[in-house]
């Protein structure tokens, strides 16, 4: 090894950082080379001198000052960290969660199947063509149109088909909506109303025939109606009848004020199980109006005949005129009777109730609630699933719409955090 290399190793030798081989070769060289040896000694002296340097004593107030500063730091950290750190976390996640939650609630309210906004309200129907051709019944037609689109259509159809015939086919249809809307309108315009004859036929199954019978009678009388016909049938118990069921039957034909028609049907339905249910609403408005029109015409005729009679002089003429007058008057009376009859039918709807007695709860196991349980369960289940699916779809749409806002929020949050970090670093590095 040459002197240059050896000189570079002096420090390491002094610090015992040489390998065994290096140490041996170093010592060998040093033995012989005075130059290197002197270098070694001078460095050794320097090291010795530096080693002998005493440590500085700790200043007296060092510890107390340090304690003070540590406490200050802790206070500052608490102030800075807790509100801001929590605030940062708080704002980002809570705002996102809040947006989604609000979205879910809103869509649930507006879009769910149980919402009030979902019902298709078809109460308002389009205005039917006002058959305005000078007839006095056009006003009636309009009123009818506003109330019930179907009705108006039929009216106009009949009108065009030569309604003066007065023979309208029986219309067997459940006029639930018509009846409801008729109730909704003020009934202070009797002449303007539709003339509909309501009738129904209900078959119910009850536990106690006599009780049900009496209930119906009471209800009818309370409602201001009357029983037109009634009938009961009690079969004798015979040895051929193995079941202890007594197949008793009852029948009532009741007339009820037409306003109470629906309520009565509902009440009867609640008294037992409905086996059969049939409702009719026969609209005789056209015929009625036609007959009314004819009556008016005939009355005009009557007037004229009376006028002529006053002027008549010859007995022969007077006799002829009287004959004519009688004819006309008979016609008028006939028609007026028809109208009266109709009035009564319209004012008092008829309900036929057939009652069958079944003592099922004692001998038969009631399987009613479980009938179609499977499909009922299925339906309810599917309904819930549909609700959830619809809700999820709406939430996803809402979330997609909210994404731009969320992105803006995240950007703002990141900018704020960056700025905040810089401030913190500046503080620490002072």
């Amino acid at each position: 090894m040459n002197c240059e290399a050896i000189k570079a190793l002096i420090s390491s030798y002094i610090d015992h950082e040489l390998t065994k081989e290096e140490k041996i070769s170093f010592e060998n060289h040093i033995k012989d080379c005075t130059d290197c040896y002197e270098e070694y000694l001078s460095i050794l002296e320097v090291v010795g001198q530096v080693n002998s340097m005493e440590e500085q004593p700790l200043p007296e107030d060092f510890r107390s000052e340090l304690k003070f500063r540590l406490e200050e730091q802790v206070k500052a950290d608490k102030k800075r960290q807790r509100p801001s750190f929590q605030k940062l976390k708080f704002s980002k996640w809570t705002s996102i969660a809040a947006i989604l939650l609000v979205g879910i609630v809103i869509t649930a309210i507006l879009g769910g199947p149980y919402s009030p906004f979902g019902k298709s309200s078809m109460n308002l129907s389009g205005s039917a063509p006002a058959g305005g051709d000078g007839q006095e019944f056009s006003v009636t037609r309009d009123e009818g149109a506003i109330r019930d689109g179907e009705n108006a259509l039929e009216n106009s159809q009949e009108q065009f088909a030569g309604a003066s015939e007065g023979s309208a086919p029986d219309q067997e249809e459940s006029r639930e909506s018509a009846h409801d809307q008729e109730k909704n309108l003020p009934s202070n315009m009797p002449n303007m109303q539709e003339k509909i004859i309501y009738s129904a036929h209900v078959t119910i199954q009850v536990n106690d025939l006599d009780k049900a019978f009496q209930n119906i009678i009471n209800y009818t009388e309370d409602a201001g109606g009357f029983i037109q016909n009634s009938y009961t049938h009690n079969p004798q118990y015979n040895i051929y009848n193995n079941n202890s069921q007594t197949l008793r039957e009852g029948y009532l034909y009741l007339r009820i004020p037409s306003e109470k028609f629906d309520d009565t049907l509902t009440s009867i339905g609640e008294m037992g199980n409905i086996i059969e249910n049939q409702r009719n609403g026969e609209n005789i408005t056209t015929q009625y109006r036609d007959i009314q029109g004819e009556v008016k015409n005939l009355e005009v005729q009557e007037e004229r005949i009376l006028e002529i009679m006053k002027k008549a002089e010859k007995v022969e003429d007077i006799l002829n005129i009287e004959r004519e007058l009688n004819r006309v008057r008979t016609e008028i009376n006939q028609r007026k009777d028809t109208l009266k009859n109709w009035d009564q039918l319209v004012d008092y709807s008829s309900i036929e109730v057939s009652i069958r007695e079944e003592k099922f709860s004692e001998t038969n196991v009631r399987s009613e609630p479980f009938k179609e349980l499977g499909s009922k369960i299925q339906r309810g289940f599917i309904q819930s699933i549909n609700f959830i699916v619809a809700g999820v779809a709406k939430v996803m749409i809402f979330a997609a719409r909210a994404i731009p806002f969320i992105i803006i929020l995240i950007l703002l949050f990141m900018i704020y955090r960056k700025w905040f970090r810089e401030k913190l670093l500046k503080r620490i590095n002072k």
Partner: protein, 183 residues
């Protein structure tokens, strides 16, 4: 890293100031002296040391148990000192150095006392004359007695770099000292 240290460090992570004070009590002197070795006067050394310790307390949460606590803390001190110098608060003018030497009981006589103090001041001034990177390694090795490996960890440099810097630093120091002798 003994158990006592570990327990104290755990407490410090929870913000326990007293635990921290106990933890650093055996290192305080060295920390202060390292700082003093960098700047050469008590005021700045105090600032640096205290800054470093507060920093250490704040960042103790990030301290991993596997590393050595003393090396970690000395490194913080060195870095704090470096930042301090970089900020231009260079207080290395020799006139400002208020070098104090601890006076041991076995030092005989006032004359030798003064002589000893004089000598120390000389060496200290010479050290301050060294460039920062050489001064640090020589200081850590010869004043504080760290191993090459420890110095490498504290200054975050290779052991080889430590070796060469120490060697050259000592040479430079020797030259400085012989110069003053000749004056």
């Amino acid at each position: 890293m003994n158990e006592m240290e570990q327990m104290l460090i755990g407490r410090c992570k929870n913000g326990d100031i007293s635990a921290f004070e106990i933890l650093i009590s055996e290192h305080e002197r060295k920390i202060y002296n390292i700082a003093f070795g960098i700047v050469g006067n008590t005021e700045d050394a105090k600032d640096i040391a205290q800054d470093a310790l507060v920093k250490a307390f704040v960042h103790i949460k990030t301290f991993r148990e596997e590393s050595s606590f003393s090396t970690w803390i000395y490194r913080i001190v060195m870095n704090t000192g470096k930042d301090f110098l970089r900020k231009g608060k260079k207080n290395l003018s020799i006139e400002d150095t208020d070098y104090k030497a601890e006076i041991k009981d076995d030092r005989p006589g006032p004359l030798e006392k003064v002589e000893g103090m004089e000598k120390n001041k000389e060496i200290h001034e010479a050290l301050m004359g060294l460039k920062e990177e050489y001064r640090n390694v020589v200081f850590l090795k010869d004043v504080q007695g760290f191993s090459y490996q420890e110095i490498a960890e504290i200054l975050d440099i290779n052991v080889g770099t430590v070796k060469s810097r120490i060697s050259r630093g000592r040479y430079m120091l020797r030259d400085l000292l012989t110069q003053t002798k000749e004056l």
